[in-house]
Amino acid sequence: MKAGMTALAVALFASVGSPSAMAADYVIDTTNAHASITFKVSHLGFSWIIGRFDKFSGTFSYDDKNPDASKVNVEIDTTSVDTNLALRDKHLRAADLLDTDMFPTAKFESTAVKSTDGNKATITGNLTLHGVTKEITIDAEHVGGGKDPWGGYRDGFTGTTKITLADYGILRNLGPATKDVELILNIEGVRK
């Protein structure tokens, strides 16, 4: 009985005192596709091609009182690359581009988060792509968060960054306008 009371007290304290007092852990909601990893790449310098990785998973921790303590981890299935053209996707998976047989996963692990102003921050971390790990910086923004209508608690973010393909050993010549790829990330997480 006494143990029960203590547990209740702890639970009460936790529920009253803790919201946002410490970082909460979230699972990125890929199950219901409230998250996406899209990319934008120039075609000959004439237009933009939009593609995305259909399969990925990840988690993050976030504390709205102390956003700089946030962390994020994402793992991407590179074979799920999708640019709405099967022949092009086949080529993207091939050895002269993503080489997904050799490198079936890409990974991002944050190392530091620094708030800039308001709900904006820069997330620094290591991106592993095509077997090469390099540090990148993502310009991120907290879009919103709170209770969802189904009993859960969510927070969502958007971010962009730019990578140079050659930095990751992807050396196929796609033309002078197509050296960089812009990544557009939209991440919504459900609190665990």
Partner: protein
């Protein structure tokens, strides 16, 4: 000039099928090897695969018609061959039909997996009938494998024909080049 095949030799239709498809198959193999290595900025980057696809569909049609023609015609007797040679040549000939069918169907699947049809030289269109995500990769692998297998079989077939022509000095190669010789009587005598 004989149109149909007889027991004594091949008519003009079979011989044209044989030599035109032989040229086309070796040509397609070379074209295939060359086109997948083209630079993105090559003027042939799109044109070469398009031509390969279109001709491939015509060859698929030709293969089916050729098989029907084979089935509807008597098979020339091969009494120049030993029983073992006859067995092997049978396997090689049927092997061509099977390998070529798989080769061409896999090529078709690479191009039509995402619902795109193949517009054959603007004459007619072959619709996509089978869709399955990721199929283009498997079909591509099969296509490459069977292309090498067909060429390997063609090399065996060519060496055998040359052996018959230059070593055995029989009419195995000659009768595929020119029509039936006017010596049916003596042939029949030999076989008895």
């Amino acid at each position: 000039m004989l149109i149909r095949d007889t027991l004594e030799g091949y008519g003009i239709v079979s011989r044209l099928f044989h030599w035109l498809m032989a040229i086309a198959i070796f040509g397609m193999f070379a074209l295939g090897l060359w086109m997948v290595r083209l630079d993105y900025y090559s003027p042939y980057y799109n044109a070469a695969p398009n031509f390969h696809r279109d001709l491939g569909m015509l060859l698929l049609l030709a293969l089916v018609v050729r098989w029907l023609w084979r089935a509807a015609n008597p098979k020339p007797v091969s009494d120049d061959l030993t029983p073992a040679e006859r067995k092997i040549s049978n396997v090689v000939h049927w092997g061509f039909y099977v390998l070529l069918l798989v080769l061409m169907v896999s090529g078709y699947l690479i191009s039509t997996q995402d619902g795109e049809s193949i517009d054959v030289f603007g004459w007619f269109s072959v619709p996509s009938i089978f869709r399955m995500p990721g199929l283009e990769d498997r079909a591509g692998y099969i296509h490459r494998l069977f292309a090498y297998a067909v060429i390997a079989l063609a090399v065996v077939h060519t060496l055998a024909a040359l052996k018959h022509h230059f070593i055995d000095k029989d009419d195995v190669l000659g009768r595929m080049w020119s029509g039936p010789k006017a010596r049916p009587k003596s042939k029949e005598d030999n076989s008895q």
